[in-house]
């Protein structure tokens, strides 16, 4: 019998969206719990490491977003072929995490002067990062291999806010644009994206 998955996070994309996208893309049922801050406070003390997201599988709980999405990737068959390909997929996702960290640092910076400074930094970082990924990316609309992996979903997810700000960001990066297209072509993902709550992050 299929395991019962329950994913708990805030009402945000943040560190849970990649896992949500995997369940959706693979057509795997899961409970998508989104907590308000006041709901989280009493649960925090009894959670494994006082952090979200958490994933419950048949009653057993784990935390740490990376561990969760890597587990979900294997459960949903989206982690790439075992061995070297799995490592490459993992590598791409790590790099995307680095990008997201930089993006979030800017979005959450309250000091206006520091924010401007960080934005300037991003203006150099992002094009270089994209140029690198374009160079390493596969030619068929997938970062690695010939079919969808969670690296493609992670890239799609990581690009969300960048593309929202500038829809033509991937104009000069045709292989990467194809990856975003491939993900958009997944009917379940498209349906999910159309319905999901709009969130700041």
């Amino acid at each position: 019998m299929a395991p019962k998955y329950k994913l708990t996070y805030f009402n945000a994309r943040g560190r849970a969206e990649l896992t949500r996208l995997m369940f959706v893309a693979a057509g795997v049922e899961y409970e998508d719990v989104r907590l308000e801050r006041e709901e989280w406070r009493p649960l925090k003390e009894t959670s494994p490491m006082g952090q979200l997201p958490m994933l419950e599988v048949d009653g057993q709980v784990m935390c740490q977003s990376g561990a969760i999405f890597r587990y979900a990737a294997k459960e949903t068959g989206l982690s790439g072929s075992a061995g070297w390909e799995e490592a490459q997929v993992d590598m791409f996702v790590c790099g995307i995490e680095d990008l997201q960290t930089k993006l979030w640092e800017v979005r959450f910076e309250r000091d206006e002067a520091k924010k401007e400074e960080k934005k300037t930094g991003l203006a150099t970082f992002v094009p270089n990062w994209l140029a690198n990924y374009e160079k390493l990316c596969g030619p068929d609309g997938h970062l690695v291999g010939a079919k969808l992996t969670y690296a493609d979903l992670a890239f799609f997810n990581g690009m969300h806010d960048i593309l929202k700000e500038r829809a033509d960001t991937l104009e000069k990066f045709p292989k990467l644009a194809k990856v975003v297209e491939s993900v958009n072509e997944n009917k379940a993902v498209a349906a999910y994206i159309a319905e999901r709550p709009e969130t700041f992050i």
Partner: protein, 201 residues
């Protein structure tokens, strides 16, 4: 036939040591290539993402410290014995990486005031981390399961500077002290530790 591995990083523990310990614990041969800072700018151009560490296996290259460690853990059987165990091991390693990030953030801060602030915050952070891990860790000298996994090695790596600073840091955490003991008892690890260069971080 076993692949020819070459692991490239700075002459530091930081984001390279976990992979080196996996090789050591599993008794797997590899070339431990350490780059000096002056060599780095020229070398950087030739890397996939302009970063280290790198793992080369029979001429193929992968980067991102987490992806490398996870690949090596799977290849050497140190990743956990089932999917769920693997996820738990991953979770513990993620938590240790958070700790190492905080230690590095404090160590490498260039602004004196920021450095002092971050170093001060380390005390309570480390205590909370250890409280948590003692609660979650297994009773047999292994964070997960009944034999060595790279979660134990990661914990050992994370604790190195904490224990150097205070040798009795694990006095109140008997299960965690046992984990460190088991790692030190591993012949491959003990031999490697005895020979490795002393580094600041």
């Amino acid at each position: 036939m076993a692949p020819k591995y070459k692991f490239t990083y700075f002459n530091l523990r930081a984001r390279g040591e976990l992979s080196r310990l996996i090789f050591a614990a599993a008794g797997v041969q590899y070339e431990d290539y350490r780059i000096d800072f002056p060599q780095w700018p020229a070398f950087k151009e030739k890397t996939p993402m302009g970063q280290m560490p790198l793992l080369e296996a029979d001429g193929k290259v992968v980067c991102q410290s987490g992806a490398i460690a996870r690949y090596l853990a799977r290849e050497t059987g140190l990743g956990g014995k089932s999917s769920w165990e693997e996820a738990q091991v991953d979770m513990f390693v993620c938590g240790v990486n958070d700790l190492i990030d905080k230690l590095c953030d404090a160590h490498f801060a260039s602004d004196e005031a920021i450095k002092e602030e971050r170093t001060k915050a380390l005390g309570p952070y480390v205590t909370k981390f250890l409280d948590n891990y003692e609660k979650l860790g297994g009773p047999d000298g292994h964070l997960v399961g009944t034999s060595l996994t790279y979660a134990d090695l990661a914990f050992f790596v994370g604790m190195h500077d904490v224990l150097k600073h205070r040798a009795d840091a694990l006095e109140k955490f008997p299960k965690l002290a046992k984990v460190v003991e088991r790692v030190r008892e591993n012949k491959g690890v003990a031999a490697y530790i005895a020979e490795r260069p002393e580094t600041n971080i």
